[in-house]
Assembly symmetry: C2
Homo-oligomer: 706 residues x 2
Amino acid sequence: MGDLPNSQLHSIFAPQSVAVIGASIRPESVGRAVFSNVLRYGYTGVVYPVNAKARSIMGVRAYPSVLEIPDPVDLAVIIVPSFSVAQVLQECGQKGIKGAIVITAGFKELGGEGIKREAEVLNAARGSGIPLLGPNCLGIINTDPSVSLNASFSRLMPSSGNIALVSQSGAVGVAALEYAQSEKIGLSKFVSVGNKADLNENDFLAYLHEDPLTDVILLYLEDLADPGRFFQLAESSSPRKPILAIKSGRTAAGAKAASSHTGALAGSDAAYDALFAQCGVMRVESLEELFDYALAFATQPLPKGNRTAIVTNAGGLGIMATDAAERYGLAMADFEEKTLARFREVLPPAANIHNPVDVLGDAGEECYAAALDGALADAQVDGAIVISTPQLMTNLAAIAAAVSRVASGHQKPTLVCQMALGEIEETLTILSQGRLPHYHFPEEAVRTLAAMARYARNLSRPLYQVKTFADVDREKVAQVLAGAKKEGRRFVLEPEAHRIFQAYGFPVLPHRWVRAAVDAVQAAEEFGYPVAVKIISPDIVHKFEVGGVKTHLHTAGEVRRAYDQVLADARKLRPQAALAGVLVQKMAAPGTEMILGMTRDPLFGPLLMIGLGGTLVEIFKDVMFSVAPISEEWARTMVQDLKAFPLLSGYRGEPPRDLDIIAECLERLSQLALDFPEIRELDINPLMVHAQGQGAAVVDARIFVG
Amino acid sequence: MGDLPNSQLHSIFAPQSVAVIGASIRPESVGRAVFSNVLRYGYTGVVYPVNAKARSIMGVRAYPSVLEIPDPVDLAVIIVPSFSVAQVLQECGQKGIKGAIVITAGFKELGGEGIKREAEVLNAARGSGIPLLGPNCLGIINTDPSVSLNASFSRLMPSSGNIALVSQSGAVGVAALEYAQSEKIGLSKFVSVGNKADLNENDFLAYLHEDPLTDVILLYLEDLADPGRFFQLAESSSPRKPILAIKSGRTAAGAKAASSHTGALAGSDAAYDALFAQCGVMRVESLEELFDYALAFATQPLPKGNRTAIVTNAGGLGIMATDAAERYGLAMADFEEKTLARFREVLPPAANIHNPVDVLGDAGEECYAAALDGALADAQVDGAIVISTPQLMTNLAAIAAAVSRVASGHQKPTLVCQMALGEIEETLTILSQGRLPHYHFPEEAVRTLAAMARYARNLSRPLYQVKTFADVDREKVAQVLAGAKKEGRRFVLEPEAHRIFQAYGFPVLPHRWVRAAVDAVQAAEEFGYPVAVKIISPDIVHKFEVGGVKTHLHTAGEVRRAYDQVLADARKLRPQAALAGVLVQKMAAPGTEMILGMTRDPLFGPLLMIGLGGTLVEIFKDVMFSVAPISEEWARTMVQDLKAFPLLSGYRGEPPRDLDIIAECLERLSQLALDFPEIRELDINPLMVHAQGQGAAVVDARIFVG
């Protein structure tokens, strides 16, 4: 057996011997399915059935207990009833077994008694020092020919390949195995992680990262056991081995289903989106996308850019593929003159030599070969899609062979779309052998190449290095928060919020907390006009609702009147509210209003948010989230990924906005949020952002604590 | 042969006899393929091969010319070289042939000589009174068992079904036939329209509308021959027979120089989007969508709403389907208490009885039947999706049969997703016989049901009745336009634009064209402050660029200064410009700024546009287009379909805006654009829209002519 890494999981994926505890001959029983899978799919080690009563299972000598097996056993696959599992695990410990897969269901997913039973099982495993996969899982499959172990009750054994699949749902795993087989997609490893009582996706990510037989890692997740560790593992893996993930339960409705199904603790979905993006995991929506992408990532080099050539024998499909290219963010390559000259020479006169290249309905394999070779040799082309339909004289198998041959001579991704019925089996085999990804519809090939281009672009970002600002005053912030806590307040007062932001190096405006009109006027005179005044009260969160904000005050008289007015209005509209004075604040120079915020996810910790201010942005939901901490680079990425980014980068002759200060504010916010877990949520709304080099100003802010 | 409508096309789809002119025995020739298709797919009439030299083709007596066929011939299928086609058509005329399909290529699609040759062919057909399909087409197929004619060179004969396909691309047609066959989707008719020299999609739409064997019409289009006629035909067909269309070449945008915002925002494709939406055609993006939807429309009743039940034996797939439901706009149904009570009784205790219903991995067909029957009987459910994966004890065929039986007892759409490999052939047959649409992935089923719900909602709109406003002054508009034309101007001056809008009943603001400061002041005094002044010049389109607009003028002094200033600035910045005075305009009361516009498409005529004003809307491209004329209902639909619509309908306690006046302005704009083809483009930007009942005001407008 191969020299596999991570000895702990090595006993699970590549054991020298396996005991199937609960092996059975009862038809349609899981115990029979598992044992039969180990036996019939060519396991290279020794398998021992364990069954309390049977002398043999399928002709193999059976033992009443693991303890009676005369030889050493590496792996136990356990299918006994749920109440016996803990006991069996203790025996496994006595036997010196190094890993266990508990397939039996009836644990945490049932709630109540099941949760308790799962804790007992985990205790038994930990007590015996046995790493445990499951319970309530389908098992594992290792297609490595030197192991060839199907320790699952899947009815299929995938062919071997370089794609690994980790699934949190057994049924989704089954569906995925069926699909992979129907598309002739080979797998290296398959793991169903079940309830993740002990081993979870992170353990397998770490293992697969080192597995020389795995080049692409697919995940189906319903939650993450430990987002922080996932981040670290994925971040170091994703540049070398693409990780593609489905995280289901995306919607509120979906999340509800998730908790009722596996008892999983669903994190907020914005956090998952953010985390995946930040650590380079490509999130996809469906199994179809998952395998469409995996097939290309597993066989093709990443493109250097998004300039795409399309070669087709059907003009209409070429147009549809071009439409799809625009939709999915690919650019149609503009061929070099020498490529066009070559096409004029080798392609028939009626062919369209411009992209999409139409080699015409009667094109033979030479024609395809010439067109693809020319396109891939063109310096303006980053990747190619070849479309073939069965027309009168079309030999699809010959074309598939020619395309495979040509593609292998270039270091650019080539994807094939073949819309045919009869020859599909034959050509699929040719394409699989030629390691060319194949799709049923042009749109699928286009979407996949676009995903590769996005992934490649993401890899070019610099390492995720988090800056720590030294010029912050933790003491001052702690003081303010302690004060609010002492008074039992759920939010800090606005001047306190400015004090906090000031302590953390944010660009706050000149402001003063006053309790007399004369002091308000003096502050205004010092700051320079115009100023704003705002009511301060521990009982008023929404100052605007009580007319508690007066802006654009240009004279001492206006300030004095505004001072009296906000107090009078507050007394009238909120007679019960304690009033703590008035905030005088210099007005910010005009700029672009942005919103910066933080909310704390129970599983992920602080989630940072940036967006443009104003109601339209709310309606278009044009905000970006990230999990803290963030690097400067990532802060810039968040801003650039806003749909409204063009408004910040010099729209229609406007000067570009100060992107440096936005990024810095995000980084400082990240640090503040991590330093003070007692800050529950906060908004800076608006952060007024000025032109490049001119900075920004925190105009209004709310900080919620506790 | 059946009593088919539209006698002209009857000769093409259901001829009593067919001459294949250019029939051949040469291997891989089109002439051989066509003749052999007619012969071997059981044509119920008589086929005569015509070949200059052969005594017989495939054992059938051949004739050197149609004229020598001793019996009457209804249809000629022509595959002779392009230069002989016109001659052959003349002979067909002499013979009294009633319809011709010219499969031969080498015409308009080649340009140059080919265009001329196509004109000759058309002349010959018209001269002989023969309706002509093609040239450069694949042919037609009629699966009606009483005809059973495959007069094409497709290598497949689809099974019979109630879906018709009209394709402008032969190769896309081929791809579609291959796909339909692989999915066991039957067709009623197939037409490849080729170059559309004579017959085009409209002729076939009219025919299929009457065809009793066709329930759903699929179109693959690269252009429309006559959008106006298409609109009428589709509008009357779509409520009874859903029409699903791919229009490719979405992005093949000719860089059109647009003067107006509207022109710039209207992609080449906006007109197609608008037209399809207005006449109830469902536009789709890919062949996969086309057939996914067709299969459901062809077999299932339309849902009454979008409340969906999901039944699955795999929880993970249920969650993914739920996620997809949210993504595609379906709502997850909330079951009635009595349904839940029933589920508690009939489903196993561990099953999830809430939507998505998880019948668990070991569910048998009874379990599926009970769950689906309960869901479909629930008044809160409009449609259902059934998901099955092959687990250990799963009998997919039995489940498919049970699902078919249960679904047939309810009048609600039921879609099936089965993720399996081995049983797919068997269960596909069961599902096809049960007339249940089947999908490979839950997302496809969800997307399809969502499309049905959208389609059904669209059908509920009232008839498309266009109002004609009588209170318009055509004479006045004609006068203004004639004046601009006489002076060779490309746009009308702003006061002229307001005159035009006023003449057509738009809410214009009090305004006056003045040539002296004293008149400006007098106008302001009459209108009441605040006012705006704007420079008027036939040489200045972009007034803002020369500081030519001053707003918020509150006093006579401000008006006088502004008057002098705009003239002085214009003289300084555009010394060559002729200055025609100044426009004094009352300022509009505050409101929501919208943009209303029109641009003229060469094929479609006036395209109307509505959107919110401001730069964000431009960035989010949140505008709606429609082809004129529009009904009041459609005008309202345009506004409601804006993503920013919530801002107009009472956002966060704001009063709702005056939607009536927006709709009326759109209708009046429609009338204006149709009445005056010399108006090339126009923008009203902004139209200031006030609260409900308070109307709106045309603040700024540009009209381009010629």
